[in-house]
Symmetry: C2
Subunit: 382 residues, 2 copies
């Protein structure tokens, strides 16, 4: 086991912590506040941000979509360049924070920002970012990854750079108070699959990584089972911190990672506008069944340590059933229905997109080729 790891993001966790941002954003900063559709104006977060930024030079950029597009984000890049912005404050969920990471890197690059996503430009610097999280799910507030979409080609793609990791992140559970039920569910499922992608692979003897992953999965399962009590400080705080730890690099350090569910799910979002988390719930059970022989040991471990199942010859199968049952208990579907009804055409379209995006071999064992993707989709598409 060998790895390098650090997580320099300053976390401010708890109620009222938005007020702390003026202790960490340099006083002479010219700040661009980046947000989405305006829900932060209804839940009081915008007002708290404005109050904390009193005395700063700041302006705002709104309208970052779920699954943010370069087409939108490039408009922010233009503003940053024209106005001499030197600090970005992302206020929202993973989409806003991911989008802000793109803006931070693209603003210091003279070429086409999409080069960041293709790897034609390797990020060598970025504007500093602060994040105020309003939807726990992606962990983007304290990691170095971002996923953005090119609308023109329906290509959803990711990049990693230490330069775009937020300097600080405010996790105030109160900012979740007005989240619609669907987004709470999506956040929970997204965090759950993030853990799975770093855990349901092959045994790597990482006792800390496995133990922490199992702790997070048990937390998320308990929060899902307790969904009726979601309007509580406790539920919100525990989801927020669990989702953060699910994808801040810690549980994945030094162990195999998969991410095939994400790569396939991205295409469902790009093609049929399926919510990101829901695209994962559609792909994952079918993918796990397809890859069960590679993942049997870890599935058995998960069955015992997360679901409390007893050993049996079909324990791995029962663990996958338990995962799928967990999604169903949350009324999250595990089959694609958003494609309009022609299953064969949908599968063909998804496979074409995967191929065109270079996704022809996936998984921690590189054992998911296009044939296997076809089989996975055959069970995942209604």
């Amino acid at each position: 086991m060998q790895f390098s790891y650090s997580n320099p993001t300053n976390i401010f966790f708890g109620q009222g912590q938005i007020a702390a941002i003026n202790t960490v954003i340099p006083a002479d900063s010219k700040v661009l506040v980046v947000y989405g559709g305006g829900s932060i104006k209804k839940n009081g977060v915008y007002d708290q941000v404005a109050q904390a930024l009193e005395g700063y030079q700041w302006q705002e950029f709104s309208g970052v979509e779920p699954n943010p597009t370069v087409e939108t984000l490039n408009k922010a890049v233009e503003i940053v360049k024209a106005e001499g912005i030197n600090y970005l404050l992302a206020v929202g969920g993973g989409s806003v924070i991911d989008g802000t990471k793109y803006i931070a890197a693209a603003s210091l690059y003279d070429g086409d920002g999409w080069d960041i996503m293709t790897g034609d430009y390797k990020v060598t610097g970025a504007l500093p970012i602060g994040a105020i999280l309003t939807l726990p799910a992606t962990g983007s507030e304290s990691n170095k990854g971002a996923v953005v979409t090119k609308k023109a080609t329906q290509h959803k793609s990711g990049f990693l750079s230490p330069f775009v990791q937020p300097k600080f992140a405010v996790l105030d559970p109160d900012s979740m108070k007005t989240l619609p039920e669907r987004q709470q569910l999506n956040g929970l499922v997204d965090a759950w699959v993030h853990v799975c992608e770093q855990y349901i692979t092959k045994p790597a003897d990482g006792m800390v990584q496995d133990g922490f992953a199992e702790a997070l999965l048990k937390n998320l399962k308990a929060l899902g089972d307790d969904f009726a009590n979601r309007d509580s400080d406790s539920w919100r705080a525990n989801l927020m911190w669990s989702a953060n730890q699910a994808l801040n690099g810690l549980i994945g350090a030094g162990v195999p990672q998969d991410w095939a569910t994400h790569m396939m799910g991205h295409e469902l979002t790009a093609l049929y506008n399926v919510d990101h988390a829901r695209s994962l719930a559609i792909i994952q059970p079918s993918l796990l069944r397809n890859q069960i022989e590679f993942k049997r040991d870890k599935l058995e471990q998960m069955g015992k340590n997360v679901f409390g199942l007893q050993q049996s010859a079909d324990l791995a199968e029962r663990t996958i059933d338990a995962i799928e049952g967990f999604y169903h208990s949350l009324n999250v579907p595990t089959q694609l229905t958003e494609h309009g009804g022609d299953k064969a055409a949908a599968i063909s379209e998804i496979l074409e997109q995967l191929k065109s995006h270079g996704m022809t071999v996936l998984g921690e064992n590189q054992s998911i080729n296009v044939d296997e993707m076809n089989k996975i989709l055959d069970n995942a598409v209604a």
Copy 2:
């Protein structure tokens, strides 16, 4: 739940990672390599460090004791000031790293370095530190705390400052290969008690903190039970990463902490030269029995989630027995015998030391006064 947290230390984990230090120590640094009694010359670590530092201006300071003393460390401070050292490289276990933290802060202070420990000087800066860990136990390699001793007064005291947190830490399990059995055991017990001090308090609804703490306790229990197989890459790597996570601030963020066992144990070390970890094993079971009504809920939780015990009216009592049994299974004593045989005199002497160091009320509930300390010692001293 409210907290601030970050952990900026760059971790380089794995075999061969010592070679990476020249990627993070600036080339123009004037480095002081700080180490202890010379074991690093026998196990090859010194040679690897020397090779990695080729091309740097560097010199060394050896002789940092277990439970490092300001009397020794101040000699290093003089060298730093005289030679214009601007980077400190600690190579050793917690004592060497803690001592180096003191050197780093005291070197930028004109007064008596002990002022750092008394709080008369609040640290406002420190030389940068890198750490090469050879004995996993204290977590000092990636936290901001240090404990040092004033030999003249037998006062063992701690300080916390973000300025002394190492910039990087190398955790190469191979560097543990020549550790004596006693130090392996001490490391395991020390890490175990670190988790307990942040976990066996009162319920605070921190699902992540509790889940991670339980994962670490289960790891350490498993590694203790598997002590016969300690001469393996797996055992070493898992102890090293578990002990690091046990005290890097993560599991204690936002939840109550105790540390009374440490405060009382420190006096056993100062007075009778008891190994730090062993001083904790002596105090803890007695302290837990004394404080059981305050800690019953978390002890029951630990009994179920760490030891796999069933609920019963005396579950908390059985959990303490299980903790003590774990120490005994490792041949780690839980009673003080190093005091020379006069129990009453020893207790009196320990209480005097505690009082003279201002330790008159301890514990997360401030419920351990001198009377309770007396009772705790009555069961802890043979």
